[in-house]
C-alpha cells in the first residue's frame, strides 16, 4: 500500500492546483481523479475572472455582509495570484485582465451597485461606479439601456482548458503523483491515518494511505464525504454556456449584469462566450441526480441568455451561435464556498462550492497552507465546513 502525506480527491482546478502548491512545499501528494484531468466543471465553466461580488452572491446581501467582506478579501488575494499565474506556471493561460463591468439598467439595480460598492471598497477592492455616459465612453459596444456600471480594472478572463492542465503538469514536475481513471470507493480513518480504496483503470482494487486528504471532487464531493460517513451540503446544478462565431476584437472587458443572468467576454480567437448562470436540466437516475452525464440543454435558457446578451451588447444579434454546452457545478445553501477541515473528521479537508475558476487558485493556495500548518495567510474560518456542523452532529 502506497503512503502519502496528503491525498487529493478530484483532478479539477482546485485539486491540481492544491497538488502543485503542496508538492512545492515538499510533501508527498497524490491526486486521484475518477475520469480525466479537468473533465468536470473546471474545464466546462465560462472562464470569467469576476472579482466583484457576483449576481448569485448578492441575492441575500444584507444577511451575509460579514461573510461577503471576507469574500472580497479573497478576491483581492486572487487578483494578485492571477497576475502572477502565467509566470508561476511558465505557460500561457490566455489570461486577459483588462477590466470588467457589472452593468445596471434600472434605479433599483443602480442602488444595488451602490450598496455592493460600499462593501467592496470597505475591503480595498479597486472598483468604481460609472454613469451611463462614462460606461459607453469606456465600452462603446454597450447598449443605451445601460444606466451605470461598476468597473473593476482587474477583472477579465482566462481559458479553463489551459489552466488546470498547466497546474497538473507543474505538480507532476515537482513530484506529485497523479492517477486518472481512479474511482474512489472507500474512505476510512484508522490509527490516525486515512485509507482510500479506489478502482484503477484496469478495474483493479488499489489502496493508499495518507495523513490528510483534500476532498476537491466538485459535484461528487458529497459522495466522497459520505464514504467518510459525513454530510456535506453541496447541491449539483446544471449550467449553460454559449459560444458565437469569431468576430473582430472589440470587447476587451468582462461584462456582467447586477440584476440579470449574464456574463460575456471575447476570447483571443474572437469568439464571444456568453453565459451567466442559466440552468440546464440535470438528468436523474433512480431518483438521484446524475453527475456523470452532461445536463440536458434547456432551449429557454439559450434563448433567454442570448436575448439578454443582445439587449446589453447589441452587436451580439449580428453573430451566429456556434455551439452551446452544459456543465455541472455544485453550490452550497448560502452560496459561499466550503473551505476547511470537517471538525468531526480530523484530517478530512474540503474545498468546493462554486466560483471555482476565479477563486480556484486562491482556494488551492490557502488550503495547502491550512493543511500543512493548520493556519492560512488569509482567514478561511468564515467558509469553514464547521458552519454546517449541525449536519454532522450524529455522523463521523
Amino acid at each position: 500500500m502506497a503512503d502519502y502525506d496528503i491525498a487529493v480527491i478530484g483532478g479539477g482546478l482546485i485539486g491540481c492546483a492544491s497538488a502543485y502548491y503542496l508538492a512545492k512545499s515538499g510533501v508527498r501528494v497524490v491526486v486521484l481523479e475518477r475520469g480525466q484531468i479537468n473533465q468536470g466543471a473546471s474545464g466546462q465553466n465560462a472562464g470569467s475572472l469576476h472579482f466583484q461580488l457576483e449576481h448569485r452572491l448578492i441575492q441575500n446581501l444584507e444577511v451575509q455582509v460579514r461573510e461577503l467582506e471576507y469574500y472580497v478579501g479573497l478576491a483581492r488575494m486572487s487578483i494578485a495570484l492571477w497576475q502572477g499565474i502565467e509566470a508561476e506556471l511558465g505557460c500561457s493561460t490566455e489570461l486577459s485582465m483588462r477590466g470588467g463591468l457589472m452593468v445596471a439598467e434600472t434605479p433599483a439595480e443602480i442602488a444595488l451597485l451602490e450598496r455592493k460598492l460600499q462593501i467592496e471598497q470597505s475591503q480595498g477592492l479597486g472598483v468604481e461606479l460609472l454613469d451611463g455616459e462614462a460606461v459607453r465612453k469606456l465600452a462603446p459596444y454597450l447598449s443605451n439601456r445601460v444606466q451605470a456600471a461598476l468597473y473593476c480594472a482587474s477583472e477579465g478572463h482566462s481559458n479553463p482548458r489551459l489552466l488546470t492542465p498547466a497546474y497538473a503538469r507543474k505538480a507532476v514536475d515537482l513530484g506529485a503523483s497523479l492517477i486518472i481513471d481512479a474511482t474512489v470507493s472507500e474512505v476510512r480513518r484508522a490509527a490516525g491515518r486515512w485509507h482510500i480504496t479506489f478502482g484503477d483503470s484496469a478495474g483493479k482494487r488499489q489502496q493508499i494511505s495518507c495523513g490528510a486528504l483534500l476532498n476537491a471532487a466538485g459535484a461528487w464531493a458529497v459522495d466522497i464525504a459520505a464514504m467518510a460517513r459525513l454530510h456535506l451540503p453541496l447541491f449539483p446544478v446544471g449550467l449553460t454556456m454559449n459560444a458565437t462565431e469569431k468576430t473582430e476584437p472589440q470587447i476587451p472587458h468582462l461584462i456582467q449584469h447586477v440584476g440579470r443572468k449574464l456574463s460575456l467576454k471575447q476570447t483571443e480567437d474572437g469568439n464571444l462566450l456568453i453565459g451567466g448562470g442559466w440552468r440546464a436540466h440535470l438528468r436523474q437516475r433512480e431518483g438521484r441526480w446524475s453527475r456523470a452525464e452532461s445536463p440536458d440543454m434547456a432551449l429557454d435558457s439559450v434563448i433567454g441568455n442570448l436575448r439578454t446578451a443582445a439587449e446589453i451588447v447589441p452587436m451580439v444579434s449580428s453573430l451566429r451561435l456556434l455551439r452551446t454546452w452544459t456543465g455541472t457545478t455544485a453550490i452550497t445553501p448560502d452560496q459561499l464556498p466550503v473551505l476547511g477541515e470537517v471538525p468531526q473528521a480530523p484530517g478530512f479537508f474540503v474545498a468546493a462550492g462554486g466560483s471555482g475558476f476565479t477563486y480556484g487558485p486562491a482556494y488551492a493556495f490557502l488550503m495547502s497552507e491550512l493543511m500543512l500548518t493548520g493556519t492560512s495567510s488569509y482567514p478561511l474560518a468564515p467558509f469553514s465546513p464547521a458552519r454546517f456542523n449541525g449536519l454532522n452532529a450524529f455522523m463521523g
Binding site: K246, T247, E248, P249, Q250, M315, S318
Partner: protein, 114 residues
C-alpha cells in the same frame, strides 16, 4: 488548378468585382469561394499565428473560408464565409487578412445583407 466547367453549362453575362485591388470577372450565382478558387487563390485568411486557411467544408460550418468583403461603394469591410455568399457586381474582396487583427465594422455603414 481550379477551373470552371465548360461542357453543357450556360452562364449569364459576366460581372466584375475587385479582389485584392484587381478587377476579376465572375458569373452571377457563383459563390465568392468559387470565384477565388477559380482565380487560383489559396490563402483566404490567416490565423492568429499566421497560418493560411482555405475552404474546408464549403457549406458554412467550418468558417475557414472567411474573407473580408465590402459592398459596392462601401468601405465597410465585413468578414463573410465566402462559400455562403454569391458574388455581386462591384463587390470588393480582400483575402489573406487576419480576423483577430482587423478592425470591427461600423454596422451603421454596412449594407451587405447576410
Amino acid at each position: 488548378m481550379t477551373q470552371r466547367m465548360t461542357g453543357n453549362v450556360e452562364r449569364g453575362d459576366k460581372i466584375t468585382l475587385t479582389v485584392n485591388g484587381t478587377p476579376v470577372a465572375a458569373y452571377p450565382g457563383e459563390s465568392i469561394a468559387t470565384v477565388l478558387l477559380a482565380e487560383g487563390i489559396t490563402t483566404f485568411n490567416v490565423t492568429r499565428s499566421g497560418k493560411p486557411r482555405a475552404p474546408y467544408c464549403n457549406m458554412g460550418t467550418c468558417f475557414e473560408c472567411q474573407v473580408r468583403v465590402a459592398a459596392p461603394g462601401s468601405t465597410a469591410y465585413r468578414w463573410l464565409r465566402s462559400c455562403m455568399h454569391p458574388v455581386e457586381p462591384g463587390m470588393v474582396i480582400i483575402t489573406g487578412a487576419c480576423l483577430q487583427q482587423s478592425q470591427p465594422v461600423n454596422f451603421a455603414d454596412d449594407n451587405v445583407a447576410d
